[in-house]
Amino acid sequence: MRPNSREEMALLVRELEEVAGSDEASEGISGDLRQCIRTFRRIERSLEQMVPYLRADNERLAGLLNQLRSGEGATFDADDLALLESMPPPLTGNWQEDVTEANTRNESLRDLLGRIIRAGGCSSREARADSRGVLMESIRSRPW
């Protein structure tokens, strides 16, 4: 469907830039609009990298959680196991659907990791070192 998300974003940025640059915009309004433009541009820049990032992060998180599962102290219920055992679906080519799917899985995996940590299932030095490694990689490779 046209305009697609990227094109709509570009149109919005163009309109905002026109208003922000006009003589009629006060200094305060102009500052607010420029903040909006910066936010849009950051989203725009990360769009292309969003799906690959989320899918790679999901793989790392699932790998870590499977490791914790075999260690001591971590309890996984049936839903948690189903999440870990499910495979990510193939990409559809529809950007919005692919991002939504990868992001939902990412949120679920991060939520599970947080719960395992809070429940004491990540208390050995080794488990913490592995978790720290995976989370640092997530932070370092973020496209935004």
Partner: protein, 342 residues
């Protein structure tokens, strides 16, 4: 909207609110408010400067005042009544805190809780230690800031009444960790395993309980008024509490704030700590300081989580979020607490 660029309507509205407030608080003294303007300093509050003239007996008095009003949403939610009481206690000490004059506890008069304080001279500059002033002046200011935080910690909290206003912690580090974790749980809208992991590490390596002192809670040049070469006031006491003095030092020396507190090649972390130890006659345990450094990053991350919630709920216009830099610093610091490297 950038602070200072305040539309006339907002200024007029504030003028009306102030007029009604002082008519109530100073009946029969003909209060007149002039020179209202919004100031830029203070990210968590709205600051309005103005002058108040009124009759006191046969005299006509003019006071330069500042109103600090809570925003609808921000990085921290604190109690204005306690802050007012803390400022009142500090009047009896040598700490240059603003004189608290009036309070609108529940926002009846100003729309949200507000404090009115005497306006002190000088300017705040987050990066004054690395700004345009000549190097000797900047180093002298760095020493003065260090003395100031030491003076805060040396306040006799019993004789000035602070022990009646602030809770006395049995285990300051554990109490602070509990408090900020409760803020996180209340405000988080999604999982932050990075913060959960850091919390687990921090809980496993709590420093020994310290004898509680007055802790400012947000000590930084951005909260210090400087007039010429001198400190004129230490502002923003909303996070003040009784706790471990290493908490303020951990906040000041955390890796995320070096540009605010240190001067490359001329005022290092060891200079700061040595000066502090000389000034206060106390020593700072390195392990404890490292723990409070990590705690400082944790607190920053939690404040960003709260800020994000305020933004998403439309209570703040600043798009805060837990940044990669803060989460990365937090995880690395926590990892090093356990002796990890690389």
């Amino acid at each position: 909207m950038s602070p200072g660029a305040v539309p006339g309507a907002a200024r007029d509205q504030m003028g009306e609110r102030l007029a009604r407030f002082f008519a109530d608080r100073l009946p029969g003294s003909a209060p007149v408010v002039t020179g209202i303007r919004r100031l830029s300093a203070g990210r968590s509050r709205q600051n309005w400067a103005f002058d108040l003239t009124y009759r006191s007996g046969r005299e006509v008095v003019t006071e330069s005042l500042i109103l600090r009003r809570d925003p609808k949403g921000g990085l921290v939610e604190t109690d204005r009544q306690t802050e007012f009481a803390v400022l009142s206690c500090l009047e009896a000490t040598k700490v240059p805190a603003p004189v608290a004059r009036w309070i609108d506890v529940d926002g009846t008069w100003f729309g949200s809780p507000s404090l009115i304080m005497r306006r002190e001279p000088g300017d705040c500059d987050y990066y004054i230690l690395n700004g345009d002033r000549p190097l000797p002046e900047r180093v002298a200011l760095a020493r003065a800031f260090c003395d100031l935080v030491g003076d805060v910690h040396r306040v006799d909290v019993e004789s000035c009444g602070l022990v009646d206003v602030l809770a006395v912690p049995v285990d300051p580090a554990r109490d602070q960790l509990d408090y900020w974790e409760s803020v996180l749980r209340e405000d988080q809208l999604e999982a932050y395993p990075e913060i959960d992991l850091a919390l687990a590490w921090l809980r496993d390596s709590l420093p020994p309980p310290a004898a509680p002192v007055l802790v400012h809670g947000d000590f930084k040049p951005g909260n210090i008024l400087v007039e010429g070469p001198d400190v004129s006031a230490l502002l923003d006491w909303e996070l003040a509490h009784l706790g471990d003095p290493a908490e303020d030092l951990g906040w000041v020396t955390q890796p995320l704030r070096t540009r605010e507190h240190l001067i490359d090649g001329h005022w290092s972390q060891s200079d700061l700590l040595e000066h502090y130890e000389r000034h206060t006659g106390t020593s700072v345990a390195p392990d404890s300081l490292r723990w409070w450094n990590v705690f400082a990053a944790l607190r920053t991350a939690v404040m960003q989580v709260s800020g994000l919630r305020s933004y998403l709920e439309g209570r703040s216009s600043e798009p805060y979020r837990p940044t990669s830099s803060v989460l990365g610093t937090l995880l690395e610091g926590a990892w090093q607490l356990e002796g990890g490297t690389g």
